[in-house]
């Protein structure tokens, strides 16, 4: 070599341990750390503290123990909303997974105009939950929307009035929610399908396995992580579901389609029941933790396994 570069290099880098890059990494994490501690956990603790008080419109700190929880658990609407969370969660996540996966498989079969289909499937994703709610409220309104249109066509006994039926309204939430999010699930599944080793298809053709069996028994088990990702993303949406209920059913008829997030917001902002709302929020957050702890465990284990 022409010149001893290492000498030059050494000259430019005296001992700079105080500015080691892994210290920079620590510094770079400070904003996230602050947000996590203050805004996530600090606020959760605050919520818990408020739930132990008699706070009504504004936070006050006269503690009453677990009274608010007792009131909450005696509240029929709260139980309805928790039950709805379970129903909606299952239907919405299940629907997104099944339909999203189905669409991804259809597209994966090698179709022309793939990009066009993909774009059309993902279009609802750009709509806000409020807009989604408005559109579907209209389509599902029995006197304005689908039911009336079909009846006008001559099928007078046609019924699609779920949105006004107390025993069915919760399903309309799932319909609108799936409509909006299925595109994202489809994209995730499609990406997963594209990662599948093409040799698997060759092998299965040599073995003469029907296509549906390959998907069911071979491909689907390989897509575990994708299913997991979809599940987590969709759970986050379910837990936060608020706008959609407000715009679509307003929680009604009655409170038959209420969800915990809306219950909490309603009590905090409209009802002068900050304490009880906070209690509801805390219960909701505990539910969230219960649902996502396997995920967090998985993430941590995966990270540890990386060593």
């Amino acid at each position: 070599m022409v010149e001893p570069a290492h000498l030059a290099a050494r000259r430019q880098h005296p001992d700079r341990r105080w500015w080691r890059p892994d210290w920079t990494a620590r510094v770079a994490l400070i904003p996230a750390l602050i947000i996590t501690i203050v805004c996530f956990y600090g606020f959760i603790v605050w919520t818990f503290i408020i739930s132990l008080t008699r706070s009504r419109l504004l936070p006050v700190y006269n503690f009453t123990g677990f009274d608010q929880y007792a009131r909450l658990f005696a509240n029929e609407r709260w139980w309805t909303s928790m039950q709805n969370l379970a129903i909606h969660g299952c239907l919405f996540i299940g629907g997104c997974v099944v339909i999203g996966y189905g669409l991804a498989i259809l597209i994966d079969r090698g179709v022309r105009g793939e990009g066009l289909f993909r774009t059309m499937f993902m279009m609802p994703l750009s709509m806000s939950f409020i807009v989604t709610g408005v559109i579907w409220q209209w389509v599902m309104n029995p006197t304005l929307g689908l039911q009336e249109a079909v009846r006008d066509l001559g099928w007078v006994t046609f019924e699609f009035n779920w949105i006004v039926r107390q025993d069915r309204s919760i399903y309309t939430l799932a319909i609108a929610g799936i409509w909006q999010q299925v595109g994202l699930c489809m994209a995730l599944f499609l990406a997963g399908l594209r990662n599948v080793d093409p040799n698997i298809w060759k092998a299965s053709r040599v073995d003469g396995i029907p296509v549906w069996r390959v998907y069911l028994h071979i491909i689907t088990p390989m897509m575990r992580t994708v299913f997991f990702t979809v599940f987590i993303l969709m759970s986050a949406i379910v837990m936060k579901a608020f706008d959609l209920v407000v715009a679509l059913t307003g929680g009604g008829p009655g409170f038959s389609s209420d969800l915990p997030a809306r219950f909490v917001v309603d009590h905090i902002l409209n009802r002068q029941e900050l304490g009880m709302g906070a209690a509801g929020a805390f219960v909701l957050l505990c539910t969230v933790l219960a649902v996502i702890s396997p995920y967090i465990y998985f993430e941590l284990r995966k990270a540890r396994g990386a060593h």
Partner: protein
């Protein structure tokens, strides 16, 4: 409106926004939820009055009462309050005052003699520690029953005087292919219907006692069961599209004759007038069937943020004065469909419905509270709305169960 005036308007707005922070004694930002047509016309009267006295008005409309109230509170908490904001009177407002977030307008009130001119129920509610913290502009009645005369004629029925009669009438209307009740399916609208039924079935005294004491024995009485039975009997007379419908859509149904009756507060008159119809003519207004003469009142008020600048205080006092001004109250209430909060205003300039209401409230015994934004704590009022709406929309709840869940929800929320 031409493009030019639009641009000019926008510029003016920007300038107004800029001057809001300056020390203009006349500038008031007014936050309210009156965004529908009749409401806008009404608040424009206050604005006119305020601007006529040299004030500058910055308008912050937020659609939806709860969103607007939440925004008002949140902005106060955030230290960026609106000068004047629409609110509900009652416990919520008192709590804001307790937290020192409100300014009082006692000076103006004393000068204008508010104490003598307001109905006692409202006077008490608008005060905190003996000082006025809210300026009441109007009284809305919630036990109105509007009807489409043509629709009744078509079915050959007349306006019923009692609830059993109403049910018979409704059946006939339904047979004639007319929707008997145009109902907006939101909890508060269902509650308005319920309270009208309660007043009619249980009577004025029962209503007053039940809601002022929230007494368990009253709520579990046979009278209450009858209320729920009657209420349940109305279910078949509402069309399928009701749940989720907004009130003004329901009003429109009655105006154009698709529905015969419409139970709503007198603000519905604003929509009737805007549709070009004089209330009391082809669209009639009577009190919902009841033996006792009574007026279920709710009231629109504006409150004043605690902004510690002379400019803001001056603007607030000017605003309070304007809001209580007899001319402004007349003009405002004509547009809004309500009656003035001041009881000393002659009724001759109002429509028939309003004149009747003004006459009615001269007797303090007729004064009843709405349970919505006025009368009971908002936790209780929310619980009431919840259970009534749940009962109304439930296909299989018996009146006994309805009464029981009503009592339980109130007990739980108290």
């Amino acid at each position: 409106m031409t493009r030019f005036t639009k641009v000019a308007g926008l510029t003016a707005l920007l300038l107004a926004g800029a001057s809001a922070s300056s020390l203009n004694a006349q500038t008031a930002e007014v936050l309210h939820w009156w965004t529908s047509g009749g409401e806008q016309a009404a608040i424009a009267e206050i604005r006119k009055g305020y601007e006529a006295r040299g004030g500058e008005w910055i308008d912050t409309p937020i659609a939806g009462g709860s969103a607007a109230r939440a925004a008002a509170v949140n902005r106060m908490l955030g230290g960026d309050p609106a000068t004047v904001f629409q609110f509900a009177i009652g416990e919520q407002l008192r709590e804001l005052a307790d937290q020192g977030l409100l300014a009082d307008v006692e000076n103006v009130a004393a000068g204008q003699g508010w104490d003598d001119k307001l109905p006692p129920l409202i006077m008490q509610a608008a005060k905190h520690d003996g000082k006025y913290i809210a300026a009441p502009i109007n009284i809305h009645g919630e036990n109105w029953m509007f009807y489409n005369g043509a629709a009744l004629e078509k079915a050959g029925v007349s306006v019923p005087k009692s609830w059993p009669e109403f049910i018979e009438t409704a059946q006939k209307l339904q047979d004639a292919g007319i929707i008997p009740i145009g109902l907006g399916g939101q909890p508060w609208q269902e509650r308005i219907l319920f309270n009208s039924v309660m007043l009619g079935v249980a009577g004025r005294d029962f209503y007053a006692r039940a809601y002022s004491t929230l007494d368990e024995d009253l709520l579990m009485s046979d009278t209450m069961l009858k209320v729920f039975e009657t209420f349940a009997a109305l279910k078949p007379f509402v069309d399928e599209g009701s749940p989720g419908r907004r009130w003004n859509e329901a009003t429109a149904m009655m105006i154009d004759g698709r529905a015969a009756f419409h139970f709503m507060g007198d603000w519905a008159k604003g929509e009737i007038i805007a549709a070009g119809i004089e209330p009391g003519s082809s669209v009639g207004c009577v009190f919902a069937p009841a033996e006792d003469l009574a007026y279920i009142m709710t009231v629109d008020v504006f409150a004043f943020s605690n902004i510690d600048t002379d400019a803001a205080r001056a603007a607030q006092e000017k605003m309070a004065g304007v809001m209580f001004d007899p001319d402004v109250q007349i003009a405002f209430n004509q547009k809004k469909g309500s009656i003035p909060a001041r009881m000393d205003i002659p009724n001759d300039s109002f429509d028939d419905c309003a004149q009747y209401a003004i006459k009615t409230i001269q007797d303090p015994n007729t004064h009843l509270v709405s349970t919505g934004l006025f009368g009971v704590p908002s936790s209780v009022s929310g619980a009431i709305d919840d259970t009534i709406s749940n009962f109304w929309n439930s296909a299989d709840m018996t009146p006994e169960q309805g009464r029981d869940s009503f009592r339980q929800a109130i007990a739980n929320a108290k």
